[in-house]
Each structure stands twice: as C-alpha cells, then as structure tokens.
C-alpha cells in the first residue's frame, strides 16, 4: 500500500448511526444499479417486445418473491434518496454538530422505511 498515512477505515471507529447511513447509502445505490436496473430494463424490454414477453415479466415480478424484490428495490430508492438529501444538506456545510448529525443519521433510515410503506399503501389503495 501507499507509504503514507491513510485515513482510518471501518475497524478503527466506534460504531455510530452515521456509519450505518453511509454504508446503507452505498449498499442501496449499488443494489439499484445492479438488481434494480436489471428489472427496469427487463420491464421496458418486455413492453417493447410484446404481450407474451410482458406476461413472462408479470408472472415473475408479480409472484410473492417478485413482489418482495420490488419492495426491497423501492426501499433502496427511498433510503438512498433520504440519505442523498442528507448529503445535500451536509454539502451546504450544515448539520455537522454532533447532536444534529446523530439525529438526522437516525432519522434517515426511518424516513426511508416510512416512505416505502406509504408508497405501497398508495399502490394497494388506488
């Protein structure tokens, strides 16, 4: 490795909520970029291909396992969006005070789950 001091990595820090938020941001982003894009492109491709291909898509993604995957992907979006908006606030130079930072770190994943629930309630009710 580089012969110079490197910034400390995961093992050296005491765990805090902001670390969870940071890791969830990466996990949800990479999850959407892999699994999420796969489903998105399959959906668009099947729509472009015709009713038979779209029926295959609906059969898989409409199954219980498919629905669970869709719920997880939607959660990934809402969680990533919540922590992304937190990034925008931090970019302004705000929210670095220890207590404020901890409070919004705890709130971010809760907001992500709450928006996911709201979204699926809206899907089911309309």
């Amino acid at each position: 490795m580089a012969g110079r001091p490197l910034s400390p990595h995961l093992s050296i820090w005491k765990w805090g909520p902001h670390m969870l938020v940071s890791i969830l941001h990466r996990v949800t982003g990479d999850g959407m970029a892999t699994v999420g894009f796969g489903i998105l492109l399959w959906w668009l491709g099947s729509l472009a291909s015709g009713p038979l291909a779209y029926a295959d898509f609906l059969a898989v993604m409409g199954s219980p396992v498919g629905i669970i995957v869709l719920v997880l992907i939607s959660w990934a979006f809402f969680n990533h969006a919540a922590s992304g908006i937190r990034h925008f606030v931090l970019d302004l130079g705000a929210g670095y005070e220890l207590e404020t930072n901890r409070r919004w770190s705890v709130a971010t994943p809760i907001i992500g789950v709450a928006l996911t629930i709201l979204f699926w309630v809206a899907i089911l009710l309309t």
Partner: protein, 138 residues
C-alpha cells in the same frame, strides 16, 4: 518564481494541499463529485414521476402500461430517467471500484466493463422506450 505566484501554489509541490492533491482513490478532482449531485437531482425528479405514475395507473396490464408509455410525456420522462440514473450509477460504481480494486490493471478492466455495461444498458432502455413510443397506440 515569486513565492506568492498562483502558479507556485497550483503545482504538485510547495504547499500542504499540493502534497496531497490527487492522492484520493479517484486520483482526480471535483468534476465527478459535481456530476454525481447534478444527476442526483435529475434522479429525484424522474423517479418521482415514475413512482407517482405507478400509483396512478389503473392496472399493470400490457395494454394499459403500453398505452401509457407510448404517450409523449411518459416516454420523454422515462428516457430522461434512463440517462440520469445510468450516468449516476456509472459514477457511483466507479467509486466502488476505486475504493475496493487496488491493482491498476484490474481497476482498468473493471472500469472498462462498467462503461460497456452502462452504455449497453442505457442504450437498451432508450431503444425499448423508442420502440414503445413509436409503435403508437395498439
């Protein structure tokens, strides 16, 4: 050279910042960081449009969804969604590669694969939307 010359400070040596500039995993500056944020704003708008459309669609049958996506606005919005999200994902996955793939050769190979996957994926998405939209109402 004059000690206070901006050129002196902009070089790789001479100041504390000059000694560490470019030593991050990406070996470059703020352009990537800004693009990540510009596309993030685009993603928020485009994905919100898609999710609200999912809520408002009466059902998810082929006829309903195909007719919706062959309209001008949804087709346009989804094309923008593809461009913005794939660009954003390319930046995000690049950072993942920079952080965890140390070997220079492997890093080049991983980034080459990533670029091909992103361009192919976005191209497929845009082509599918074009085909749906240009087919018109069935």
């Amino acid at each position: 050279m004059d000690r206070n010359s901006p050129l002196q400070n902009a070089g790789a040596k001479g100041t504390a910042i000059g000694n560490v500039r470019g030593l991050g995993a990406a070996h470059e500056g703020a352009g990537h960081w800004l693009q990540q944020r510009f596309t993030a704003i685009g993603n928020l708008m485009a994905v919100s449009f898609l999710l609200i459309s999912f809520i408002l669609l009466p059902d998810y049958s082929y006829l309903t969804v195909h007719a919706w996506l062959s309209d001008l606005l949804p087709a346009f919005a989804l094309a923008l969604l593809i461009v913005s999200t794939f660009w954003h994902a390319r930046l995000g996955l690049s950072v993942l590669i920079e952080d965890y793939v140390d070997d220079a050769g492997n890093k080049f190979a991983a980034k080459a694969l990533l670029n091909i996957a992103i361009i192919a994926g976005a191209g497929f998405g845009l082509f599918s939307i074009a085909r749906i939209a240009l087919a018109g109402t069935l």
